[in-house]
């Protein structure tokens, strides 16, 4: 991409309220997918108390500076941005050091995001769990948001709280990603259905991700699925979310038609035995 910025950067908060529903995994995969589509993308780990985004991206050993040093002017922004090894369009910016918990204010967040936005097409902010200060800081600079939830009562309830807070802040649009969908359980009505969740939360759906073991495998490796897990249903779902965010009209996946893991398992077997792909 050339250096001339035509449109202002999309600044998207990725949040859920409840922890462990897949915020960081979504941020990492979406970051890679957007970068692959030619978008200059920065993923910002706003959860600096317990940061994990570096680990999912396989960049944990390459962090020298954080947003903290940039704001203190002890380093330049491009020194703190950690470029992804295989995907040069993607860079990671950790908000801060886990040992220094009390520096970040909403104003700091706005400053650093404005700096990052100048040189990117997409800024994805990985929000910490909860609805307290961590959320408020992370949300301070967001223009739009993706709320991610799973079809479970506690996750949906927490998502609802977060949506309420986003509405009062005037963040718009807010879109929904439904994660860890189990098509079989949904079919037998032993799990909240896709429509149940979209009805209750009253948000437009931007993605549907089926439960996929490959997510765990990719996390172990530090290589997001969108990087090379093309056969996996979750990888395709993340790629589709990226395309929808760019305004492409991609039909929503039908969970009942996805043969979960069959093709992915086969691809994985081939990969393991041949070392190719």
């Amino acid at each position: 991409m050339d250096a001339v910025t035509s449109a202002p950067a999309r600044i998207i908060l990725i949040c859920s309220g409840k922890g462990g529903v897949g915020k960081t995994t979504l941020t990492a995969n979406l970051g890679i997918a957007l970068a692959r589509l030619g978008e200059r993308t920065v993923v910002l780990d706003a959860d600096f108390g317990l940061r994990n985004l570096d680990l999912l991206l396989g960049l944990e050993n390459r962090i020298v500076y954080t947003a903290q040093e940039v704001l203190a002017e002890t380093c330049r922004l491009d020194q703190a941005l950690v470029k992804h090894k295989q995907e040069p369009n993607l860079a990671l910016l950790p908000a801060g050091n886990p040992r220094m918990l009390e520096w970040l204010t909403p104003e700091d967040m706005q400053k650093i995001v404005a700096m990052v936005a100048e040189r990117s097409d997409f800024v994805l902010i990985d929000c910490p769990a909860g609805i307290e200060d961590g959320f408020k800081n992370a949300a301070a600079a967001a223009r739009e948001a993706i709320v991610i939830t799973t079809p479970e009562v506690s996750a949906v309830r927490d998502a609802d709280r977060v949506i309420g807070l986003l509405n009062t802040r005037g963040v718009e649009p807010v879109q929904l990603v439904l994660n860890r969908v189990r098509p079989k359980m949904m079919a037998s009505q032993e799990m909240l259905g896709v429509e149940d969740v979209t009805d209750i939360l009253a948000l437009p759906l931007v993605g549907l991700v089926v439960e996929d073991e490959q997510v765990i495998v990719s996390t172990n490796r530090g290589e997001p699925l969108t990087l090379n897990g093309n056969g996996s249903p979750a990888a395709r779902a993340y790629q589709n979310i990226a395309r929808r965010l760019r305004g492409e009209d991609v039909p929503m996946e039908d969970p009942s038609k996805q043969r979960r893991g069959l093709r992915a398992r086969l691809m994985n077997r081939i990969r393991k035995t041949t070392g190719l792909i």
Binding site: D160, L192, D199
Partner: protein, 127 residues
């Protein structure tokens, strides 16, 4: 789903857990969104019933005041089956004491009664 669950559902004794999840969520979210705790809601319910009772005779057992929510809009829904209108303010106390004991609502549904709440609605009591 275990075989036992399956049989329960086949016999219509148990709803699928996904349906239960949705119902429980709708109820709890209505409370979350309105910031009314169950005690306040119960107090409001009692006061509403008191006011209504001054004018009409209602079936307190069947009466249901609850929060319902759709498309992020929460509504206070009162479903109060009316037995009959109060004839005269002076007769209020006597009618309430005698009338209730004499006429069980099931046998003598008044023509002008409000639609009876569906069974599901009646079960819902704020916890």
């Amino acid at each position: 789903m275990t075989l036992f669950d399956f049989l329960q559902r086949l016999l219509g004794r148990q709803k699928p857990s996904g349906t239960m999840a949705k119902e429980r969520l709708q109820l709890v979210l209505a409370h979350d969104r309105s910031d009314l705790n169950p005690e306040l809601l119960e107090q409001m319910r009692r006061e509403i019933l008191e006011v209504v009772q001054r004018y009409v005779e209602i079936d307190i057992e069947e009466g249901d005041v609850s929060l319902e929510t759709e498309d992020r809009v929460t509504a206070l829904v009162a479903n109060l089956p009316i037995r009959r209108a109060r004839p005269l303010p002076a007769l209020v106390a006597a009618a309430a004491a005698v009338g209730m004991a004499e006429k069980p609502p099931a046998e003598d549904p008044p023509a002008f009664a409000l639609p009876h709440p569906p069974e599901e609605e009646a079960e819902r009591e704020p916890d």
